[in-house]
Amino acid sequence: MSLLIQHDSDAAALRRGIHRFLFVAALATLALLAAIVVRQGLFRQTTTYSFVTDSAQDIVKGQAVRIAGFRVGAVADVSLKDDGQVVVTMEIDADHMRFVTYDARVELRKEGLVGSPTLEIVPGPDKSRLAAAQARLTFSRAEGLGALANQVRDEFVPILRDIKVITGVLADPQKGLPGTLAQVRASSEALNALLANSNRQVNGIGGAATRVLGKAEEDLSQLGQTLAAANQRLPGLIDRTQQVLDHVEKITAEAEISVPPALREGSAVAADVREIVSGARQAWPIRNFVDAPAPARLKMDSDLRGEAGRAR
């Protein structure tokens, strides 16, 4: 009888243990579920924004939406409208709404040049006004590899064309590099010939100069002899010079009469000089500083030669 009583108390204890275990397990399961729900954001407050684009390329449902590189939401829906446009709806955590200004734009970017595409909300310059819930934002695609390649091609094609033209000109046998080289060769040959000719002439001049110097030496020795002879004859020459000076005095006296007309001739020469100076002034840069005169006006003279006075 006591054995049966012992058995009943063990079974009751076992039952209580099972109950406790089941209760703890249920609590753990509920906690896990709650954690999963919280983790999935079921109790999170979100705000919806949307944008319209021509193509849904690289945009998929669930794609991350970032602000300044931080994930703040995801693409909730991608739908095609009747007019062929694509409407993309995003859900953003309400906590991050403060970063989405009314003039913010959505950019589709790639992580690096070939990485996975992400949507980045770029706030606008006016931070004073935020975008309303369910607002429609503007959208743009960052230039990818294709656009970059097109840009590079646009830049390079004209350069390549120029290179083609330049190489064509250079290769031209008449005007290009071969022709120029031929001309340079011809010029250098002509220069060589000229130099050789000049060399010969300089040699000739050197020989002539030597001969002249020799002749000058001979002349100097003759001059020495002449001076010695002159020294002997000088007294007589001085007497003769005195006579000549007497003649000169006479000539001077006569010149007093004859020189004034010659001076008058000088005025004619002066007139010629004036002409020359006038001509020089025409050609010389200084004329740029001289003002041009006004048109001339000659005074009326109806009888320029006084012919009316006396009957001819």
Partner: protein, 286 residues
């Protein structure tokens, strides 16, 4: 010597450096400026009595003006050129220049052209042609035009040449009246000379002498040898007509002036007048 060379080199460099600096140069284009300078130079030479050089400069100016299609400038310089030719006694050449000036003008001969043409025709004793030119000029000078005095003087010359002494005197006196108070000494002298000649031709030799003296006084002030010599010849004629003394002295003065100025034709006239007055000229030493 070295300093002088340096100075010349500096001047050349300064001139060359300044050449392209057109900012300081006047606004006239170079060819127009050259034409104006040639014209101005010609006028200076004309004023000095260097008519041969004036002819060259006016001809150059006229050609430059024509080359830049400045017809008024070309026509003006052709008139200057014709005037210079007339002053040299080359009336035929002056007429040719005036004809070329007419060809360059669409509006026919101007009043100045007609007056110069009449002047040249009178110098060549083409009296009928001169009358025509003067008639055309009168048509262009109906009112009080600036050339009215010159027109009267030329009409007086034409009348005197046609032995119409009264008409000549009337025109000369009208011209003198118009010239009063004006800075036209040459024309005033011409007017007095014409008055003297007209009075002499009209028999008023007594009235002619003061007029001839007035002309001589003005021509002396203007230092015009040819006119002075002619004035003395006229004074000699008047004195001979009046019968007063000093006739030979007047002719001698004319001869002296003509000889000094190298005016052979006038010297010959003076000698003839002296010979006609029974004056024996002393032998000149060679």
């Amino acid at each position: 010597m070295r300093a002088k060379t340096l100075l010349i080199a500096t001047l050349i460099l300064a001139g060359c450096a300044a050449a392209p600096n057109s900012a300081t140069s006047p606004a006239e284009p170079p060819r127009l400026k050259a034409a104006l300078e040639a014209e101005s130079d010609g006028a200076k030479r004309y004023g000095r009595g260097d008519y041969a050089a004036a002819v060259r400069r006016f001809d150059e100016a006229a050609r430059i003006y024509a080359s830049i299609d400045d017809m008024p400038g070309a026509a003006r310089n052709r008139l200057h050129l014709a005037r210079s030719e007339l002053a040299q006694g080359r009336a035929e050449a002056a007429l040719l220049v005036l004809e070329s000036a007419d060809r360059g003008s669409d509006a026919g001969p101007t009043l100045d052209t007609l007056l110069l043409r009449a002047q040249a025709q009178l110098a060549l004793d083409r009296h009928a042609a001169a009358q025509q030119s003067l008639a055309a000029a009168s048509g262009q000078c109906a009112g009080a035009c600036p050339q009215a005095a010159s027109l009267h003087l030329l009409q007086a010359r034409a009348a005197l040449a046609a032995n119409l002494a009264a008409d000549a005197l009337a025109h000369a006196e009208a011209a003198l009246k118009l010239l009063q108070g004006k800075d036209e000494a040459a024309e005033t002298g011409n007017a007095w000379r014409l008055i003297a000649a007209a009075r002499l031709a009209g028999g008023d030799a007594g009235g002619a002498l003061p007029a001839a003296n007035a002309a001589l006084e003005i021509d002396r002030q203007l230092a015009l040898p040819e006119k002075i010599a002619r004035d003395w010849l006229l004074i000699g004629d008047i004195r001979r007509k009046v019968g007063a003394g000093g006739t030979a002295a007047a002719y001698r003065r004319a001869l002296d002036v003509a000889n000094a100025a190298g005016l052979a034709d006038l010297a010959r006239q003076a000698k003839e007048a002296l010979a006609a007055n029974n004056e024996v000229l002393p032998e000149r030493k060679p």
